[in-house]
């Protein structure tokens, strides 16, 4: 078991032509990146030691790096989550076969499209300035200040709720003024839960390569408008991670 090699899968692509991509260094050895085929669907794979791959920084970046390289060359990339390794190439073909009906419908939908991510995080000073303008909140703040810690217990809860509602209203505002401005240029969009209290937008967009420049431009335009109030984190191009959701499980056949 220890020295056995397996087939690590990175992503799926649409092609009938066997391809290779820049090799990677893994466990001190150079690993060739190649394809395994079934009909017009292929898996981009590498032969690597059969083991559990921990999601540490190096391993995660290795996975992402291969996908980036593939994306530079291919226009129909279906991302596969991190850490999947199979015993043999036959196993990967079996996987392709079982996935094929889905891949077939997916290919035309994501061909020539990329995912970009946009997070908007409110600047603390701006959030503070805004909430300080809210009389009700300020009054409650004074009440909390005037009472002892025990006596002000419920007031503090109410103050917290007010703060939460305030952030919610900011998020709604950002959704209208940033997100809604971008969706017409995107093929699809997805709002994820903001991470942390100050994040006001956590979105992913599926963008046609032909509209990529227009989308970038729009993001920059919005950034110009908002940069004093929020920080933008704009990332991509990613494969359509947020727009493909296929969960596979096994069932034993008896």
């Amino acid at each position: 078991m220890e020295n056995e090699n397996g087939i690590y899968v990175f992503c799926g692509i649409q092609t009938e032509t066997p391809s290779t991509f820049n090799s990677i260094l893994m466990d001190g050895e150079e690993r060739e990146i190649y394809t395994i085929h079934y009909k017009d669907a292929a898996m981009v794979v590498a032969e690597m030691p059969m083991k559990i791959y921990h999601p540490d920084k190096d391993n995660l970046m290795m996975h992402q790096q291969v996908i980036s390289t593939v994306m530079n060359k291919k226009d129909t990339v279906i991302p596969i989550s991190f850490g999947n390794i199979f015993h043999t190439e036959e196993d990967v073909i079996a996987l392709l076969k079982s996935l094929y009906p889905q891949l077939e419908t997916l290919f035309p939908k994501i061909k020539g499209k990329i995912e970009v991510g946009l997070k908007a995080v409110g600047k603390k000073e701006w959030l503070q300035k805004n909430i300080n303008q809210n009389d009700k909140v300020m009054k409650k703040k004074d009440v909390v200040k005037s009472k002892s810690e025990a006596a002000g217990y419920f007031d503090r809860i109410q103050l917290g709720e007010m703060a939460k509602n305030f952030v919610k209203s900011m998020r709604d505002d950002i959704q209208t003024n940033i997100h809604d401005e971008l969706t017409p240029i995107a093929e699809a969009d997805k709002l994820n839960e903001p991470i942390g209290e100050k994040m006001l937008l956590n979105a992913a967009y599926l963008v046609d390569r032909e509209k990529e420049a227009a989308f970038d431009k729009k993001v920059n335009k919005l950034h110009d408008i908002w940069k004093d109030r929020v920080d933008f984190k704009y990332t991509g191009p990613w494969p359509a991670y947020n727009f493909i959701n296929i969960k596979l499980k096994v069932e034993e056949t008896s």
């Binding site: 921990h54 889905q102 995080v121 994820n192 947020n242 959701n245 296929i246």
Partner: protein, 91 residues
């Protein structure tokens, strides 16, 4: 242009946010053996939402450390902490 998108290593949090639980996700058991076992699709939603994020898991096990416990895989499937902080520096 004022801001340009990228996928370089400075955005590890973004990478984590995507590659752990999005795209085609294969059950841990499925990777062990495939031939002779029927793969069934539990969910196949395309261009729709996936709610869960394993970023919490990633945070819970201190992902930014270089090594994780040998039995990390089972945790990966079950453990989730209650909260996660967004600490990454925004450039």
């Amino acid at each position: 242009m004022a801001i340009q998108k990228s996928t370089d290593s400075s955005s590890l949090a973004e990478v984590i946010d995507r590659i752990l639980d999005k795209g085609i996700v294969i059950d841990a058991f499925a990777r062990v053996s495939v031939v002779g076992i029927e793969l069934i699709t539990v969910e196949a939603r395309v261009v729709v939402a996936s709610v869960d994020t394993w970023l919490r898991y990633a945070e819970a096990v201190g992902l930014l450390r270089d090594e994780i416990e040998e039995d990390g895989l089972s945790d990966r499937l079950s453990s989730r902490s209650d909260s996660v902080e967004y600490d990454e520096e925004v450039s």
